[in-house]
Structure formats: structure tokens, C-alpha cells
Symmetry: C2
Subunit: 201 residues, 2 copies
């Protein structure tokens, strides 16, 4: 049945996401996945011909969803700091759900990844950076952030700090690293302007 098939495909993608974001690409297997879904290994191949195709498809769907989420933030928030705070929320949400951010989980093993996935991870990070640059640029233009702020480098810093904090939090099994690291970055963005400090959410 059509609806049933879509369902299974989606469940496959969902479980793949969990496995990729907890164990990584190399350490997850079709057997693993099949058992979680409750179908046989061979049936996965009906939906995704190869592991590489499944991995690539997962990143693609994830990316579409993520792009929409980022666009939504731009629509709902009009100031740079709240936008960044919402952005940081994705990372704290990841940890709360007991997972790494997808591309943070994959990029360490980039060298062992199929080419199709390498490219997508790369594209994903570039998307993050482009969005952050947009937010920062508008923040500067609106006078919310200092005019001397280096947009490109600050975007890198925000992404790096959040991915890195997630990595450290993941290894230490202590999510409380993320928010302070981010708030430190943000508070210094604010310090460099003339406004004062609206801490806490």
C-alpha cells in the first residue's frame, strides 16, 4: 500500500537519523536499522539501494527541514540576538534529545565517508555559515551589533563554538556546557555595542 510504504520509508529515515547522530556512519549497520524498524535487512534495500544512498537521503531531508527552520526564525524574530539564541536552541535541543547535531556527528569521520555524504556535510556547514552571516550583517546594519564586527569570522566562531560545545558536552555527558559557551559569545557581541545585557531567556 502506498501510505504504508511512505510510512516505512519515513521510519527508516527517522531511525537512520538517530543512529547517525549517536553512533556515526561507520558504526551503524543495516542489521541495526532493520531490527529497530521491525523489518528484514533486505527490505531496506527496497527503499534505499545502498547505505550511501540512505545516508545521503537522510542528510537531504534533514537539510530541507533545517533550511525551513532557519527561514522561520528570520520570519519570527527581527533582531540579531534573539535570532542567534533561537539558532543555539537547535544545539541544546539536540543534546536534550540525546543526540549530536547531525553534521557535527558526521564531520569527524568525513575522511571515511562516501563522497556523496562528504559533499552534503560540507554544503550543510556552508548553509549554516551563510545564514549566520546574514543575521550578523543585518544586526550590524540595524545598529544592534558593533559596526566593526567581522561578520565572516564571527559566523565561524558561533558555529564552531556551538558544534564544539556539543562535542564536549557529548563526550562529558553533560549538556550544561553548551548554553554558557554560546552566551559568552553572545554577551561579548552585545558588550561591543552600547546596549546593556539582557541575560536569561
Amino acid at each position: 500500500m502506498f501510505a504504508m510504504s511512505l510510512d516505512t520509508r519515513e521510519r527508516l529515515l527517522r531511525e537512520t537519523e538517530v543512529l547517525l547522530r549517536t553512533k556515526g556512519y561507520a558504526a551503524f549497520s543495516y542489521a541495526d536499522l532493520a531490527e529497530r524498524i521491525g523489518i528484514r535487512k533486505a527490505s531496506i534495500h527496497h527503499h534505499f539501494r545502498t547505505k550511501e544512498e540512505l545516508g545521503a537521503a537522510l542528510i537531504d531531508t534533514y537539510l530541507v527541514k533545517f533550511e525551513a527552520d532557519l527561514a522561520q526564525i528570520l520570519g519570527q524574530e527581527r533582531e540579531a540576538i534573539p535570532r542567534l539564541r533561537r539558532y543555539a536552541g537547535f544545539f541544546t535541543a539536540s543534546m536534550r534529545e540525546g543526540m549530536m547535531p547531525l553534521c557535527g556527528a558526521l564531520s569527524a569521520e568525513t575522511a571515511a565517508l562516501p563522497l556523496a555524504m562528504q559533499q552534503r556535510v560540507r554544503h550543510f556547514f556552508e548553509l549554516h555559515l551563510a545564514w549566520l552571516r546574514t543575521v550578523l550583517k543585518e544586526g550590524v546594519k540595524a545598529g544592534e551589533l558593533g559596526p566593526d564586527l567581522d561578520v565572516g569570522e564571527t559566523a565561524s566562531l558561533v558555529l564552531s563554538a556551538l558544534e564544539g560545545a556539543s562535542l564536549v558536552a557529548w563526550a562529558l555527558k553533560d549538556a550544561s556546557v553548551i548554553t554558557p559557551a554560546f552566551e559568552q559569545v553572545v554577551s561579548r557581541l552585545i558588550d561591543s555595542t552600547s546596549t546593556n545585557n539582557p541575560i536569561r531567556e
Copy 2:
């Protein structure tokens, strides 16, 4: 012969380091390793009974060396900023050598790692953080850094930013992300001191 054995053992550790820091734990194999060294797979077991033991031993040696390096920095530099800059040098050096920092490479796949390695990765990060806190604390005491600086959170930020920047740089195959991210953190540490304080309430 004893010297010969040590040699092989050391070469095993060195190649293991390369493999772990480029492909990760799950994606590297005894076959891989044996070929690089030029011995048979089975012979590795003579030096390290299991893969887990090899991995743990690698982290242990790495950790000893790293602790010495950190101690050396404390001996050679007496100010916080140069100390941090030397610390950041480890991360840029990693990328220059075409590798991830060891624990950054491993921590993403923590959940798929043998327990002995999980604990060591964790311990490694805690060592980093403890060292950073020491440097920052002394920097505050010496008046090089602002007295209001949160030592614990700043230590987390420095580690996170550098690990994260390495991750991003690794995925983008562009090492130039690391230094700017770090310098941004550092420059804001300096800004928050009273030395170059141009008014602002």
C-alpha cells in the same frame, strides 16, 4: 629483539594515531593498520591483545605527551594570552598535519566506543579544561584578564571553540577557520580588561 619490538610497538601506536585522527575508531581496522606497518594482522595481537586495548593505549600515550606539552607551556610562558595562543597552536598544528585533534575525532562516536576509551576521552577533556582554568585563573590574578571573567565558562568556550573550529575546518577542508575563531575569543578576553577601556558607561 627488544629494541625491534619497541620499534614496532611504537610504529603501531603512531599509525593508530593517524587512523584514529582521520577515520575514527569504527572505520579503522587491524587489516588497515597491519598493511601500513608491513606486518600481518595477527602480529598486532602480539603487541595489543584487542583493538580496545590498542585504542586505550594510544590515548594513554597521547595523554602523557600532551600533559607534558601543557606543562612546558606553563614553564615557558608566563602570561595568559601567550599561553592560550600556544594552546591553540596544537589545534592549528593538527590541521596542518591533516588530522583532527584526537579527542575531537573520537568524541562524536563516543556512544559506539568501548568503555575504556569513553572514559579516557572524557578524562582527556577534563584535563584540557582544568589546564585552561588554571591559565585563566592566573591571568585574572595577575590582572591580565578582567576580574569579572568567569573562569569555568571561559575555559569551556576556549575548548569548545577550538574543537568546533577544527571540526568545521575538517569538514570544509579549510584550516583557515581555526585561528580567526580563536583570536576572536582571545581578543574579547583582552577587551574585557581595563587596559584599553574607552569609556562606555
